[in-house]
Amino acid sequence: MTAVLARGFDQPVAQSQATFRAVMQALANPGRLIAFRSTLDTDTPLPVNAAALGLALLDFEVTFHLAPSLSAGSVADYLRFHTGARAAKTTQDAALAFLDLAKDTLCLADYAQGTPDYPDRSTTLIALSTRAETGMAIAGPGIKAVGTLGIAPLPADFTVQWAANRAGFPLGVDILFVTEEGFIGLPRSTRIVGGV
């Protein structure tokens, strides 16, 4: 018998829709914390909000990548079993990539950037993180005047990396920061306009 497997959604339709709605709100309102706490069984190999996100967004046609800190345990089995999604061979093949900002290195250029014909074929990063009280000033669609991105920990060169990501627009990656309190979106259309 295989190892004990954590449960998926008890109410697949309602729970995945609720998760999807929060994700949509997060990407539509960059930098704003969209409060969300999944009702998923807490016995999941990923933090519950990240697990819910995987279950809601993955299906058998979507590929995912796990950063080193997440690839050792049963995360891959969990996502594969419940969604039918395949593990991507490289970061470049991943539609969704999970990483933990506290443990994994973040290098935006490593991931799929999309193609001029299909800019949507880029990787969406699911970054496990915590919320910080202060943050960088951001601007762009979905932000009235100037907003704040309060996330920790971010690598020292994040502003440089994000500027490079922004320079390739409409190509580039989008990031969803997942915290215990909810989701914070950083789509490729957002610019960082000021430091902490």
Partner: protein, 367 residues
């Protein structure tokens, strides 16, 4: 150009209520049950499943009831419904050689291993209206005859192929991408997998007319029905965690193998060529038409001159889908008030110009 027009809400609500009333019809007549449609209008169900591209008899029967028997409307309902469901995966390729055959005929060989069985067919009926069906019929149970268990019924084309007298089918490559027009929009040139998917869900009337046109000379290719078979085939879905394909049940399919005129070259001996048709349910006319059109669309592959509409892949594949077709034709009912006003103004201007050229003095006099 469309302009949003408001104000019809009550008219629409009442029109829908009226539609529901007309669908029910005379309350003195018993209401049609979905099971009755499934059982007694089974071939309409088969057509709706094929063109709706969704194998589910009960849903197709419900769609027929809801659409008051308008099959294209029913197909539209099925196509809309399927978009609400997640996709679990792809089945293992269905093996028609392993079919539990209920009908199998060949126009190329009289005696063939496994024999010819007619099954339930309209062929050989006299097409005389049976007024006995006006009343509740008292139908006899079907005749039975002793049967040998597991009698082998090889495909007729496999028999021809064993003498190397017919082209080989393009071999399957494990793990190869299979085109899917429900995921990627149609693009040209289209490979045969994409063409067959398109034809499999194409409008039966359209396929029939195109198939017929090839017989009348618009892309002739001398077809013979190598075999038509109808029966049940097992559906299997690979489950990665288990490491084997799990049977999901049986489904009914109709397959048509069309054997067509030769192709050969300086390096290849002459061989018969193939056209292939496969359909959900019992849809013989559709499977035959599909096979004719499949072969016609291979004109370029065989270096044949393309002179008929059935050989023009862009024409065929872009117009085969009756849901798309009805959408575009029926959209003409939408308000085009502004468009039409513009046309009207232009027409008036042209007429004024015309009049002024005919009678320059009238205009001058008016000025």
């Amino acid at each position: 150009m469309y302009v949003a027009v408001k104000g019809g809400e009550r008219a629409i609500a009442n029109a829908h209520r009226l539609l529901a009333d007309k669908r029910r019809g005379d309350r003195e007549v018993p209401e049609l049950a979905v099971e009755q449609i499934d059982e007694q209008l089974a071939l309409a169900v088969d057509r709706v499943m094929s063109e709706g591209s969704l194998y589910d008899r009960k849903l197709a029967a419900l769609a027929i009831k809801q659409a008051r028997g308008d099959l294209i409307e029913a197909i539209f309902l099925i196509r809309a419904y399927r978009t609400t469901l997640p996709r679990f995966g792809f089945s293992e390729p269905l093996d028609t050689a392993e079919m539990a055959v209920r009908r199998r005929i060949s126009a190329t060989y009289k005696d063939l291993p496994g024999g010819q069985v007619l099954g339930p067919t309209f062929d050989y009926t006299h097409r005389l209206l049976d007024f006995a069906l006006m009343a509740t019929s008292n139908t006899e149970a079907p005749a039975t005859a002793p049967h040998e268990p597991d009698v082998a019924m090889p495909r007729v084309t496999d028999i021809i192929a064993s003498d190397d007298l017919i082209e080989r089918n393009p071999p399957g490559v494990p793990g190869a991408e299979v085109a899917d027009l429900t995921r990627e929009p149609l693009s040209f040139p289209a490979d045969r997998d994409l063409r067959l998917q398109n034809l499999a869900r194409g409008d039966e009337g359209f396929l029939l007319a195109l198939g017929y046109s090839t017989q009348r000379g618009y892309g002739r290719n001398h077809p013979f029905v190598g075999e038509i078979r109808l029966g049940e085939v097992e559906v299997e879905l690979m489950v990665e965690e288990l490491g084997f394909a799990v049977p999901l049940g049986d489904m009914t399919l109709t397959e048509c193998q069309m054997v067509n005129q030769f192709s050969g070259s300086a390096t290849e001996p002459a061989r018969f060529t193939r056209g292939y048709g496969l359909s959900f349910g019992h849809c013989e006319r559709r499977a035959m038409s599909m096979a004719l059109v499949d072969r016609a669309l291979r004109a370029e592959e065989f270096g044949e001159e393309r002179k008929g509409p059935a050989q023009d892949e862009e024409f065929v594949l872009s117009h085969s889908d009756n849901v798309q077709a009805t959408g575009f034709v029926e959209h003409l009912k939408l308000p085009h008030y502004v468009d039409f006003q513009a046309e009207l103004a232009l027409l008036r201007e042209m007429r004024l110009e015309f009049t002024s050229k005919q009678n320059p003095e009238t205009l001058e006099a008016a000025e």
